[in-house]
Amino acid sequence: METKLISLPVTVNRDTRFRDLVVEALGEAIFSCYQCCKCSAGCPVAFVMDLLPHQVIRSVLLLQREKALSSRTIWICASCETCTTRCPNEIDIAKVMDVLRQIQVESGTEAKEPKVPIFHRTFLNTIKKFGRIHELSLLTNFLRQSGGISDTIKSGEWKNDLRLGIKMFLRGKLKLLPPSKKGVEELRKLFDQAKEHKKS
């Protein structure tokens, strides 16, 4: 008989702790998924995903923690909310992605698309520092953190980026000085509180 196996058989897990975390954040709704694939069919970035959105939901339901957390998908999801908007079962798939990202970050392991969480962290750090985003600082910090500078140089992208940067600058679109640190004190408190609200 022709076999259609793509990977080795997986024995179903009985440990539900991972799924419980997601359910805690999203409610029982996630169980109601009937795998209709509507989320995946409408996802603008599905073409570069390793796990399609419906498969992400499925892996949560089938207790496959590793599969979900080590996916590229959770990082390249553009948070466009298309899936959430159209899911017939009112599953907030975009939020599932968020929750999985949060769990992944807290797990301390390396993300499949490491640049993305680095970017987000840099972003939040910028806020923490200035209260608002200063695009230039964000950009340079991110490039430094993610090793992006050498990447872009290697790929030759830097020429593009440089050209773009110069154009932006010439058009007055790059603000050079960071904003004054309004409300930063208050924000610090929030960031501290945030640490107490870890997932696991």
Binding site: L5, P9, T11, S32, C36, A41, F47, S59
Partner: protein, 1020 residues
């Protein structure tokens, strides 16, 4: 005691009339059942004509019958029935009173056409200058301000749409009034209120399509080439806006790549449409097949979630679509349709079988929209104080889906839950049984029975023929030179009288025909006019009223077959009209009076099978006042109910069964025969004779009865698959249910449970869906979850078929954490059984990997097979399907009748179905049976085959040929045909080598003379 007398005095006697709300196929069926079993019927329909949605459909699944062809005869019958009063363009405002005696307030909207004067000639419609979009054509075609909704509409009386009429809007025009030859236009009409006394009410207001705009991502209304399924039906229809030519709205090009998107507005809890609409999977399949038939280059694609082919013959239909018609089924819900700005083609992205995203271009997309209750019917229910479900359908008792929350008011069809035509029809009959039960004592009190004059004998007379030639306004007269046809007719042999009329069918001309018959001593009448389809019965009635046998009437079809189809060839049309008249006269001169035999009806019923269906049928008939003999082959009643404990809705089945058995035992009109075996059977509708052996001594009895109901049921298939029988952890759903109830299994001890669906069903050996096993599995899974919420349950399925509101239980099960894993026939789950471990491995198509579950129990959802019924089928000459379920007379419109008249079927004997549907169907069988039992005698059609014994060589040809197995070789060694059984098809006559058989009214001589008459002139 005293009190009882008082209440009895207060109670008015029941009224023998029923009010039907709605004029769709459901209502039509219920009204015919009721009117034919002795009750007066009022049918209130809000639109100008009856027919409902079915009239708009092209073909119908799974037989692909033309919807209009099979509906039209029923429409005509309703329109002509003396005991059915059609109140079209009307609505029910309110009801008052008690069950059995209610008064209904009805608002009859002004039609502005006098119904008794209008002859339906259509002149007004043709001449009216004001065009508007036709609702019937879903806005894709036009109609006039004065209009009949569709061609075959009943009543064929137009109505003026006040909002569109120029006269009403601007005070000028009145063209219709001027041109109406019957002077039927009446602008002074006003809305009228009527009060009608009835005993009971049936609501059948049907459904409306769910608004496609609830799912804006599909662009309906924005994208021209995105259509609703009903719009597509009209496009397919030969009488539709494009004459059945498939073309798309944007550029009228022929689309080749057509996609259907399923479940639009159904199975969508996010918009409070959590239910499945039950019909859209099948109608999309049908539309795809028909599109392919119209144009073999069409490449249909259906995007679906589960194919719900849960009805009789549906799975085979679906497979044929896929395998023979190349319909592509892709399991993916579509997120969005994108219209390409220039070509207006439509892009659809989907996930293919291999888990890849594919974008494909289509030229036309059809949205398979679901059913919703209309706002109007919701309001009506509210005024009547009838409870609705959360989805705004009519709420009913869970084991009695025809009873509303208000006593005396019943429901049927799609207002109760989404369903197809056969289920609507069957439920309609069921509702009719309920509605008539409470007024059965008033049966026959309000019906009209016509007194007829004695028939005059014409024996030995030469033919004296009268000919009436109709102008049909200008329909005939405008093309055919009627006066010259008249002059010509006068020259033909046997003609005593010829007359032309503007409208031969009008009331006054009917009177005229009667007069002329008397005056001129006519003994044959020929009318040259429109069409026998609609008018032959009318003229036959007229000559019968004048004392002539109705078979002495003959019609020449000079409108539908002449003037209408040769409009541009007036001369030829006139010539042809003459030919047709000559042919009709030739045939008329040879017609003979035929006598419809009157047979007495035995008012007893035989019910075979003492399960839920059989017992319910027996009780139903007995409650209508008829004697019943109930035969059960086992030693006790109950059938499958004996080991069924709860339904998915939570009913206590054992309690239900015991009370049913008790009622059956205690009913004075029911006689029960246990351990009964049917050993011989004979007779015909109204007069059957059946031999039964019963009891320990196998005593023989002959039962005489007028009708038979077959309720021999079905049983669980005992699996041979998945190690069933080799391990006590492996069992069927049915067995699981029993073990839980009897505490042999405690769900608390279970961690992991696997259920496998479609065991023994939907496989080449048994290609049908057993319909109930999906919900049985869900029922039991929910039961386990209720007791042990931590149990992990995996249901391995092919398609989940929780049609209608059952979908809610599927949703509930998922929410409770039951995991559903899909498999294909070529990728079945595998089990391995070792001492300790019971492992099931299955390929999960979502994650595309094989999953292995270590299970505590393996539950097989095995299918339903019919009980052994071969002998019974042979004895009673009953037809069966390939799978040995019994076969009804017509899949769509006669779902509980056998082809053999007087025999009905219900329950699992017909096909697998859950308890509530078996009970409804049993009621339906009761209603159908009552249409016979209500009468004292029946007339047998005069058009039957007769054997000339001398010529018969007993060659057995007729015995072989007759589709109804009527002819047999009698004791004299010649063929004999029972007139009560013969359907009059003429097959035997055509094949009898000795020409020993003649079909009355279509004798060889008559047909040959008629056809030869065409050539008389040429050859002479």
């Amino acid at each position: 005691m005293k009190q009882q007398i008082v209440t009895q005095q207060n109670q008015k006697t029941p009224v023998g009339a029923v009010l039907l709300v709605g004029g769709g196929v459901g209502s039509i069926q219920a009204s015919l059942d009721l009117a034919n079993s002795g009750f007066k019927v009022y049918m209130v329909e809000e639109s100008p004509a009856i027919g409902g949605r079915m009239a708009q459909l092209d073909k119908t699944f799974p037989t692909n019958d033309c919807a209009m062809c099979i509906l039209s005869p029923k429409l005509v019958e309703c329109g002509r029935h003396p005991n059915i009063e059609l109140l079209t363009y009307s609505e029910l405002l309110d009801i008052q009173g008690e069950p059995g005696n209610m008064s209904a307030k009805i608002l009859k909207h002004a039609r502005y056409v006098n119904e008794s004067l209008c002859t339906g000639c259509g002149t007004c419609q043709e001449k009216c200058p004001q065009k508007t979009l036709s609702e019937f054509e879903q806005g894709m075609g036009t109609r006039k301000a004065i209009y009949v909704p569709y061609l075959q509409a009943i009543p064929n009386i137009p109505v003026i749409d006040k909002d569109m009429c120029i006269y009403f809007q601007k005070g000028k025009c009145r063209a219709c009034e001027k041109l109406c030859p019957a002077k039927a236009i009446d602008f002074s009409q006003t809305d009228q209120k009527l009060d009608i006394q009835v005993g009971s009410i049936i609501l059948a207001p049907g459904y409306q399509l769910t608004n496609p705009e609830v799912r804006g991502e599909y662009g309906y209304g924005r994208y021209q080439n995105v259509l609703t399924s009903l719009e597509f039906e009209r496009i397919l229809s030969a009488s539709g806006p494009f004459q059945g030519h498939i073309c798309r709205p944007s550029d009228h090009a022929e689309p080749k790549r057509i996609a259907w998107i399923q479940c639009v507005g159904s199975r969508d809890p996010s918009i409070n449409k959590g239910y499945c609409s039950s019909v859209c999977c099948m109608y999309a399949t049908k539309e795809a097949i028909i599109a392919r038939e119209h144009d073999p280059e069409v490449r249909p694609t259906i995007f679906y979630m589960d194919i719900r082919a849960h009805g009789k013959g549906f799975d085979q239909y679906y497979e044929r679509a896929r395998d023979d018609y190349g319909v592509r089924f892709i399991r993916c819900q579509i997120s969005k349709i994108i219209e390409r700005p220039k070509s207006k083609n439509l892009l659809i992205a989907y996930v293919d079988e291999g888990g890849k995203i594919v974008e494909e271009e289509f030229e036309l997309v059809v949205l398979s929209l679901g059913m919703s209750a209309s706002e109007k019917s919701r309001n009506l229910a509210q005024t009547l104080g009838i409870k609705l479900t959360p989805y705004s359908f009519c709420q009913t008792a869970s084991l009695s889906p025809m009873e509303t929350s208000r006593p005396g008011v019943y429901v049927c069809g799609t207002f109760q839950s989404p369903k197809d035509i056969p289920e609507t029809v069957s439920q309609a009959s069921g509702a009719a049984a309920f509605a008539s039960e409470i007024i059965s004592s008033a049966r026959g009190e309000l019906v009209t029975i016509k007194e007829l004059p004695p028939e005059q004998s014409i024996a030995g007379e030469e033919p004296r023929i009268g000919v009436f030639i109709c102008h049909c306004g200008i329909n005939i007269g405008g093309i055919v030179d009627v006066p010259s046809v008249k002059e010509y007719a006068k020259t033909l042999p046997h003609i005593v009288y010829v007359e032309e009329n503007l409208y031969t069918c009008s009331q006054d001309n009917q009177a005229k025909i009667r007069e002329v018959i008397q005056e001129k001593q006519l003994n044959r009448v020929v009318v040259a006019s429109c069409s026998p389809r609609t008018h032959e019965p009318l003229f036959q009635e007229t000559i019968r009223d004048a004392g002539l046998n109705k078979y002495l009437f003959e019609m020449a079809n000079i409108r539908d077959q002449c003037s209408w189809v040769h409009m541009d060839k007036k001369k030829e049309a006139t010539e042809k009209a003459k030919n047709l008249v000559r042919m009709a006269i030739a045939k008329a001169s040879l017609t003979e009076p035929l006598h419809e035999q009157e047979l007495k009806i035995n008012k007893r019923a035989l019910v075979v099978g003492g399960g839920a269906a059989g017992m319910t049928a027996a009780l139903g008939l007995a409650d209508q006042g008829f004697e019943v003999v109930l035969v059960e082959k086992e030693k006790q009643l109950g059938g499958n109910l004996r080991d069924l404990y709860y339904t998915i809705h939570g009913n206590n089945v054992q309690e239900f069964m015991h009370s049913l058995i008790e009622k059956v035992h205690n009913h004075p009109l029911i006689q029960i025969i246990l351990n009964g075996v049917i050993v011989d059977a004979g007779g015909f509708k109204g007069n059957f004779k059946t031999g039964i052996m019963s009891g320990p001594g196998m005593a023989y009895r002959k039962i005489e009865h007028g009708v038979t109901i077959i309720a021999t049921g079905g049983e669980e298939y005992k699996p041979k698959e998945y190690f069933y029988g080799h391990d006590e952890r492996i069992m069927t759903q049915h067995e699981l249910e029993g073990r839980i109830v009897h505490k042999e299994i405690d769900p608390k001890d279970l961690q992991e449970i696997v259920m496998i669906q479609c065991v023994g069903s939907r496989i080449p050996e048994r290609p049908y869906c057993s319909r109930i096993c999906c919900s049985s599995a869900i029922k039991n899974a929910l039961k386990i979850k209720e007791i042990n919420p931590n149990a992990h349950i995996y249901i391995i399925y092919r398609d989940i078929r929780t049609y209608g509101f059952l979908e809610d239980y599927y949703t509930k099960a998922r929410k409770a954490g039951v995991i559903f894993i899909r498999y294909d026939l070529d990728n079945k789950p595998e089990t391995s059984l070792e001492k300790e471990s019971l492992r099931v491995s299955v390929f999960d198509p979502s994650l595309r990997e094989t999953i292995v579950i270590n299970s505590d129990l393996l539950i097989l959802s095995s299918g339903i097979i019919p009980r052994d019924n071969e002998e019974l089928a042979t004895l009673m000459k009953l037809q069966r399907t390939q799978e040995n379920f019994f076969l009804e007379a017509h899949m769509k419109l006669r779902p509980v009748d056998f082809a053999t008249e007087g025999i009905f079927l219900c329950g699992l004997a017909h096909s697998p179905k859950p308890l509530d549907e078996s009970l409804s169907q049993a009621k339906a069988a009761v209603s159908r049976a009552c249409t016979i039992l209500a009468h004292d005698t029946i007339m047998v059609s005069g058009i039957v085959a007769q054997v000339e014994e001398k010529k018969c060589a007993a060659c057995l040809t007729c015995v072989r040929v007759c589709p109804y197995k009527v002819p047999f070789i009698n004791e004299q060694g010649v063929a004999q045909i029972d007139v009560a059984l013969c359907q009059g098809c003429g097959s035997c006559a055509a094949e009898c080598p000795g020409k020993a058989i003649q079909l009355q009214h279509f004798k060889d001589e008559q047909i040959i003379t008629k056809s030869s008459a065409l050539f008389k002139e040429n050859v002479a």
